[in-house]
Every structure is written in structure tokens, then in C-alpha cells.
């Protein structure tokens, strides 16, 4: 064999070896699965209203302002700073410069304007974003990085609305390119993660955006091992959520049922993240127009007849505290003086019912009402472990001498119809919100969720003032007084503050939630 030949053979073998060698190691994508619950009917933040959509899109969009996850204060987001006019009707936002959308489009005042145009257009059929703007009139573009929002009347919760993902700022180019229904599959924001794909019913994928440098200050530097990709899937059946974590089918999961959460406390491979959701506690609203709950003495007696700490322990396994007010403890302007009102005492409850003339003449263990027994109808849907809660209430009240009729309906649609008939004494309904203005919907005479059917001018005036007054001290005084009124008149039976029990496998680090309770901030989440 001559030399030249052997050289060729050596080269050839080397070539073969190099072809067979494994490719240069590429760093594997750090991908995690985040388990959502029910799939919402849509994922467009400007159109749809669910909390689930916010869990995903909080990572895709920035908002003009943010709420600081520790201090709860409003801090700079896409707006560097802002000014509110003396008449409280003009909000001027000074926008950050050098921000680009994931599609390369520049962020500026025109982009904010295009988003507001879309949200307020009638064709958009916005289910939430448009209402969160309150008495919005129009916007004025002052210069490329300054925009004014003009209101018809003062609206104190406006900054709170601009801190929520429903007013997240989307790329005007993408908004123009896709029709209303299609945009949810091609979302483009400025946030820490890019929207990759959404397959309805199956999954939603987001991937880290490389040049994200304009995040709110509290995000800090990007940690080592930060996740690159998050796949959201829908785990609609509650009992399977724990199994999914145990088998690492999912890495993070929301709304773990309390019994599963209790089991997790003994499992060192899974960590719990209980997050209190501000707004109204889980509660029943009393129908103040229907016998016998039209009598305030009866309503107070029913609260005192309810063993709420038993419900918190048995149904919620101690993961959420007993509620005392119409706002839960971590809501803005919560009134802590109401803690302990109407403590559980069956004797006091019985005596109160006797004081307004109820007797048990036929000695069957129930108070009499007309021909039959004293009956109370509870209307509720199967969420939030209401069926279990209602059964415990039925038990407690039976021993006081009240017969409870449980009326369970399939969902919110059916609940609304049940309310419309007026044939209920108590109905279970509440809603989340950091700002206490949520109370207006529930207790204004014309409020859309005024299920206690309260008509009180004094309360209407106070609720209206609460949303229009500017000074925090005045607002606090208003809402403290409103909460006092609601409890004094026993308009609700508060059960427990809502706590969303999230869980994650032990390899997950840096998981935090924003003050609205539902929404994780996945920017700094790590997978080790």
C-alpha cells in the first residue's frame, strides 16, 4: 500500500468517524409543564374574562404599571411614570423608550392607542377589559412616548386596571394582521416570554424572549437555570392534579384540592404555594326580600348558627382562614375591625330566633313557619367545594332548628337563572379583585350581582364615592364604613378567604405570585 493511499484511507475513516460522532452538545431547553384547570372559552386578554388566561398571558404581556408582589404598591411597568390631573379625569403616562414587541415592532404611544381602540370597539365584544376602564372617554397622544387617558368622571381604580393583564399591551401589527377570533393563536406582547402556539383543548406554549430588559424593577436579574419554555395544559379533573405532579407530568399546578394539599405536606418531593386571592371571600349572599331572611335578626342568627371554623378545617383542611367581612384580608382597604363579629354560638342563635316569635309547637325539632317548618333554601354551584360546605351548614342549622333545602345547579349560567327567579334565601357567589370597587357590583341597588337585593341610598352613595374619591385615606374610610354596613345588616354569610393552593415539584425554584392572587410571575422561575 503506498503512502498516498493510506492517507486517503485515514482521511476517509476520519470523515466517517466525524459523521458518526454525536452532534456538538446543544444546551437542552429547560421546559416545564404548568397545569391549568378548566380551559377558558378564549385566551384573548382584551376579549375574554377568565383568570386562567391571565396565568398564561401575564408572562407574555407587560402592562403600563405593575403591582409590586411584596409591597402591593403600583410601580412602573411600560410606563416610566404617570401624572393624574387635579380633577382626577386625565391620566398622563410617560412611556419607556427602547421597548420592542416580540415581532420587532416598536412600543410607543400609538401602540397603546391601538390597544385602547381595539378594547373599546363594539365589535370586540370585550367581556372584561372594556369594563375595567370605567368611565373612559378617549385617549390623546401627546408625543411619541406620552399618552393621556381622558375619563368622563374620576375613577380611582384606573391604575389598578392598568396593572392587570386584561389591559396588556399587544403589538398593533399583530392586532391588525389577525381577525378578532384568530389573534388569540398569534399573540405578540413585550413580556418576558414569547407566545409560541395555542392548540385549543390541548396546550399553550410560551418561550423565553431573549432581549427582555425593560421588565419591572422587582423582576431583578435573570437567575441561572431559569426556565426557557412553559407548556400549559388543562387538568380539569381535580383529583388527578396531584397524580400529575407526582409523576412529573406537570411541574406546577394550580387549584390543588385541599385533601390532596394535605397529602402533599407529607411529600418532600412537592412544595405547596398557598396564595390568598383578594376580593370577596367565599360567601353566601342573603336574599333580603324573601321570608324569613328578610328579617335582619334571622340573618344574624343564621351567621351565628354556622360553625365556620369547622368548615375551614374539614372542607378546606385549614388552608384558608375563616372570613369575617365582605372583603378578604389581603384586599385593599380591608376592615380588620370586623374580625370576630357574630361568633359561632348556637344558643344565641336559637334565642334570637325565639325573640322574633319562632316556636316549635309540634316539637319536631324544627321551628315552625306557617303550616310547616322553618325552611331556608341554599342556592349554589359545584365550585369551591360549595356542596360540601352547604352540607355542613345544613348540619349546623338542623341542630338549631332550621330545615335547609340544598339547591345545586351546574354552573354560573344556571346560578344566574336561579337568582333571577328570586326563590332562594342564600346564594353562593363571590369574585376576585384587589381593589374594593368590586363591592359596587354586589351591593349597589342596580349592581349586576346584587343578589342580596339590597336597596339602600346611603350604601349607594358610599359605594359611588369609593370609586371616585382620590385620596387613599378617604377611600379607606369609605370602604371600612361600607364593610361595617354590610356586616351590621348581615347581607352576607362570609365563609372563608379564598386561598388558591398551588403546588410545584421540588426542582422548581423562584415561583412567585402577584398581588391579584391568581397570576404567577414566571420570569424568575428555575428548574434545577
Amino acid at each position: 500500500m503506498d503512502k498516498r493511499n493510506s492517507l486517503f484511507i485515514t482521511l476517509f475513516v476520519a470523515f466517517l468517524l466525524s459523521a458518526c460522532a454525536p452532534p456538538a452538545p446543544t444546551t437542552a431547553l429547560r421546559s416545564i409543564v404548568y397545569g391549568l384547570t378548566l380551559e377558558p372559552s378564549g385566551f384573548d386578554p382584551h376579549i375574554n374574562q377568565s383568570s386562567e388566561l391571565g396565568i398564561v398571558l401575564r408572562q407574555v404581556y407587560d402592562t403600563l404599571v405593575y403591582r409590586h408582589p411584596q409591597t402591593n404598591e403600583i410601580v412602573a411597568g411600560l410606563a416610566e411614570s404617570w401624572a393624574i390631573s387635579d380633577d382626577q379625569k386625565t391620566y398622563t403616562f410617560f412611556l419607556k423608550q427602547g421597548v420592542t414587541f416580540h415581532d420587532g415592532e416598536p412600543f410607543n404611544a400609538q401602540a397603546v392607542g391601538a390597544n385602547l381602540d381595539r378594547i373599546t370597539a363594539p365589535d370586540t365584544q370585550s367581556q372584561r377589559a372594556v369594563f375595567s376602564l370605567g368611565p373612559y372617554l378617549q385617549y390623546v397622544i401627546v408625543d411619541e412616548f406620552t399618552i393621556q387617558i381622558i375619563l368622563a368622571e374620576p375613577y380611582a381604580p384606573l391604575l389598578d386596571s392598568f396593572a392587570q393583564v386584561y389591559l396588556g399591551i399587544a403589538s398593533p401589527k399583530a392586532l391588525a394582521e389577525y381577525s378578532l377570533g384568530r389573534y388569540q393563536f398569534h399573540q405578540v406582547g413585550t413580556g418576558p416570554f414569547k407566545f409560541i402556539e395555542y392548540t385549543t383543548g390541548d396546550k399553550l406554549v410560551i418561550r423565553r424572549s431573549d432581549n427582555y430588559t425593560w421588565g419591572p424593577e422587582f423582576y431583578g436579574a435573570l437567575p441561572e437555570n431559569a426556565v426557557d419554555e412553559v407548556v400549559f395544559r388543562f387538568f380539569a379533573d381535580p383529583p388527578t392534579r396531584l397524580t400529575a405532579l407526582e409523576s412529573k407530568t406537570a411541574h406546577i399546578m394550580g387549584e390543588i384540592p385541599p385533601a390532596s394539599a394535605r397529602a402533599i405536606t407529607a411529600n418532600s418531593n412537592i412544595q405547596l404555594f398557598p396564595v390568598a386571592v383578594p376580593g370577596m371571600p367565599m360567601q353566601f349572599m342573603f336574599n333580603t326580600q324573601k321570608y324569613p331572611t328578610d328579617n335582619v335578626v334571622v340573618r344574624r342568627a343564621l351567621i351565628q348558627a354556622t360553625n365556620r371554623s369547622l368548615i375551614a378545617d374539614v372542607v378546606y383542611q385549614g388552608f384558608s382562614p375563616v372570613a369575617w367581612s365582605a372583603l378578604s384580608a389581603n384586599t385593599l382597604y380591608y376592615n380588620p375591625q370586623l374580625v370576630g363579629t357574630y361568633p359561632y354560638d348556637q344558643d344565641v342563635a336559637r334565642a334570637a330566633l325565639e325573640s322574633v316569635g319562632f316556636t316549635d309547637a309540634d316539637k319536631n325539632g324544627y321551628f315552625d313557619a306557617g303550616e310547616g317548618d322553618l325552611e331556608i333554601t341554599l342556592l349554589f354551584a359545584p365550585w369551591n367545594f360549595m356542596p360540601e360546605t352547604a352540607q355542613l351548614i345544613q348540619e349546623s342549622w338542623r341542630s338549631v332548628g332550621i330545615k335547609v333545602i340544598l339547591e345545586q345547579v351546574a354552573g354560573f349560567t344556571a346560578l344566574r337563572e336561579g337568582v333571577a327567579t328570586g326563590e332562594y334565601n342564600l346564594v353562593a357567589f363571590d369574585n376576585a379583585s384587589f381593589d374594593p370597587q368590586i363591592l359596587s357590583r354586589f351591593f349597589m341597588s342596580n349592581g349586576s350581582n346584587n343578589y342580596s337585593l339590597i336597596q339602600n341610598v346611603e350604601l349607594d352613595v358610599a359605594l359611588l364615592a369609593g370609586t371616585t374619591e382620590s385620596s387613599p385615606e378617604l377611600r379607606y374610610a369609605r370602604y371600612a364604613q361600607i364593610q361595617q354596613f354590610i356586616i351590621d345588616n348581615a347581607l352576607i354569610l362570609p365563609i372563608r378567604d379564598y386561598v388558591n393552593v398551588n403546588a410545584a415539584v421540588v426542582e422548581i425554584g423562584g415561583l412567585i405570585y402577584d398581588p391579584y392572587g391568581w397570576f404567577p410571575l414566571l420570569y424568575g422561575v428555575t428548574l434545577n
Binding site: 390541548d202 395544559r233 354552573g411 369574585n431 357590583r441 342596580n446 349586576s448
Partner: protein, 302 residues
């Protein structure tokens, strides 16, 4: 031809019934979403009127049916999407799941049915499995399967082929009992017929008798069962898809029923009715091909 008309009638009846039954339940998806989002009463009423939900039901029905005839199943009340798109996006995973599960269920069911006719240990096993399949609800076997196997097999989503194993097994197990029962009962009945006794007295091997004489006759009634079982399978998809976190028509149906998104529910009802009607046409035709007696009757009726 007559059968085709009958199938069309079935679909029309299913559509009409679902249209009016859904409207007997008060409430709609649109109002609920707006209410949760913070709309005022006036705004909700306006939105309802804009969507034509306040028109008399009969007017809505005529509008809907005239659309259906043109192949337009309307829009979802809350998803801003044509119903046909919503269904099309989710059809393939459900159809494939049902197809695989059905094929497995037929083999499994017939096998179990034959096994159940035996004496001794295997007979007991066969009858036990058949009873278990008939007696256990789908959500129970499904949950059990997830608890038992989730550590070894992925079970959620439709991307990995391994994730299909558990749902197919669970759904097939659920459907096989009905098929096994029909096969079992028919084999038992045919076994005592005179031609089997003749075959046996001629000294044929029992396995040959089973294969060549009994099964051919006894398995014919299984064919029509397949189309009805397929209907149950679509119902089972609601539970399977929820349990196994899968995309599909079943999940869409469940969500839409709870939300009272009428047009979507109607669209799925129409589709299911069409599938079942179509399948019963096919299986009837297969039975006709497979059974010489049916053909003979057809050719010799006056």
C-alpha cells in the same frame, strides 16, 4: 334509499330536539361571561339582543336550520369562532381515539365472549372480565389506570404516541363488555342448535366446530352492536378526554353544555347523530354482505 332517508330523519330529529331542549334551560353563555367580567345589566341585555337571543325560539330555529342546510352551523356565543371550525380543530383526536378503542374493543370483546363460553378456569375468567367491564364506570377505571400507570406512561395530551395507550385501553375495556355479552349469548344459543349437534356427532374436533360452524353464525349480530357501541364511545370520550387531559370533541361538548353555549352543543349533537346514523348504515350493509340469509330474503321476497 329508504335507509338513507331514515338516517337523515334521525339527524334532523336529533338537531331539533337538542335545539328546543337546550332552550328550555334558561340562561346563555354570553350573559354569564359578560356578568363575570363586570358588565352592567343594561350592557348584558344589549349584547343578548345583538346576538338575536331574545327573538322567539321558533324564529331562531328557522334561522338556525336554514343555516344548517347551507352547511353553516353558526357561531359560538362566546368563542368568536364558527362552530364548524371549533369542531374541526378537535375532530381528529377524538375520531382516532374512538377508532382505535373500537377496533380493540371488538377483538377484545369477541375474544372474551368466546372465553366466557368455556368451562372451568378460563370460562370464569372470561365471564368475570365481561362482568367487570359492564359493571365499572368509565371514570373509575380511568382514574384507577392513571393512579396505577402514570409513573410509567405519559397519559396527558396527544403529542406522544405513548400517551394514547392508557385512554385507548380504558375506553376499549369500557366498550368490550357489551360486545362480549352479545357474542357470549349468541354462541351459547347457537351451541345447542341441531346443526352443531350433527357436527359433533360426526366427530369433528370441538375447535373446528367452534371456528367453522358456531362463530360464523353467532358473530353476525355483533356487527350492528358496533354502531350502537360507537355512540356510547363518543359519550365516553367526554369522560376520557377530561380524565386524560386530551383535546377533543368530548371536552368541547362538556364545556359548552356547562356554559350553555347552544350553537356548539347543537353542532356536536348533529355531528354525533350523523356519525351514528352513517355507521349503522355501514354495519347494516356489512351484515347484509356477511349473512347469506339476508341476501336470500332480499332476492326472494315477492
Amino acid at each position: 334509499m329508504q335507509r338513507l332517508l331514515f338516517a337523515l330523519l334521525t339527524v334532523w330529529l336529533a338537531l331539533t330536539a337538542s335545539f328546543f331542549l337546550l332552550r328550555l334551560i334558561p340562561g346563555d353563555a354570553l350573559s354569564a361571561q359578560l356578568d363575570l367580567g363586570g358588565a352592567s345589566r343594561a350592557e348584558i341585555a344589549q349584547a343578548r339582543a345583538d346576538m338575536g337571543l331574545d327573538d322567539p325560539p321558533i324564529a331562531q330555529y328557522i334561522r338556525y336550520m336554514s343555516g344548517v342546510v347551507r352547511g353553516d352551523f353558526g357561531y359560538s356565543l362566546i368563542r368568536l369562532f364558527p362552530v364548524s371550525d371549533l369542531i374541526a380543530q378537535r375532530f381528529a383526536p377524538t375520531a382516532l381515539l374512538a377508532l382505535f378503542a373500537m377496533s380493540l374493543a371488538v377483538i377484545w370483546g369477541v375474544g372474551t365472549g368466546i372465553l366466557a363460553t368455556l368451562n372451568g378456569f378460563w370460562g370464569i375468567m372470561g365471564r368475570g372480565m365481561m362482568t367487570l367491564s359492564l359493571a365499572t364506570p368509565l371514570y373509575w377505571t380511568g382514574t384507577l389506570a392513571i393512579i396505577a400507570f402514570s409513573a410509567y406512561l405519559p397519559y396527558s395530551g396527544v403529542d406522544e404516541w405513548q400517551a394514547w395507550i392508557l385512554p385507548i385501553l380504558v375506553l376499549a375495556f369500557h366498550s368490550m363488555g357489551g360486545i362480549a355479552r352479545v357474542a357470549f349469548a349468541n354462541i351459547q344459543a347457537v351451541k345447542s342448535l341441531s346443526f352443531v349437534i350433527v357436527a359433533r356427532s360426526k366427530g369433528l374436533h370441538p375447535r373446528t366446530i367452534m371456528r367453522r360452524h358456531i362463530l360464523r353464525v353467532a358473530l353476525l349480530p355483533v356487527l350492528p352492536i358496533i354502531s350502537t357501541q360507537f355512540g356510547f364511545l363518543l359519550g365516553g370520550a367526554v369522560i376520557t378526554e377530561t380524565l386524560f387531559v386530551r383535546v377533543g370533541i368530548g371536552r368541547l361538548l362538556l364545556d359548552s353544555v356547562i356554559a350553555q353555549d347552544y350553537p356548539v352543543v347543537q353542532g356536536i349533537v348533529a355531528l354525533s347523530a350523523m356519525i351514528v346514523a352513517f355507521l349503522s348504515l355501514i354495519t347494516d350493509y356489512c351484515a347484509y354482505l356477511a349473512d347469506p340469509r339476508l341476501r336470500w330474503m332480499d332476492n326472494n321476497t315477492p
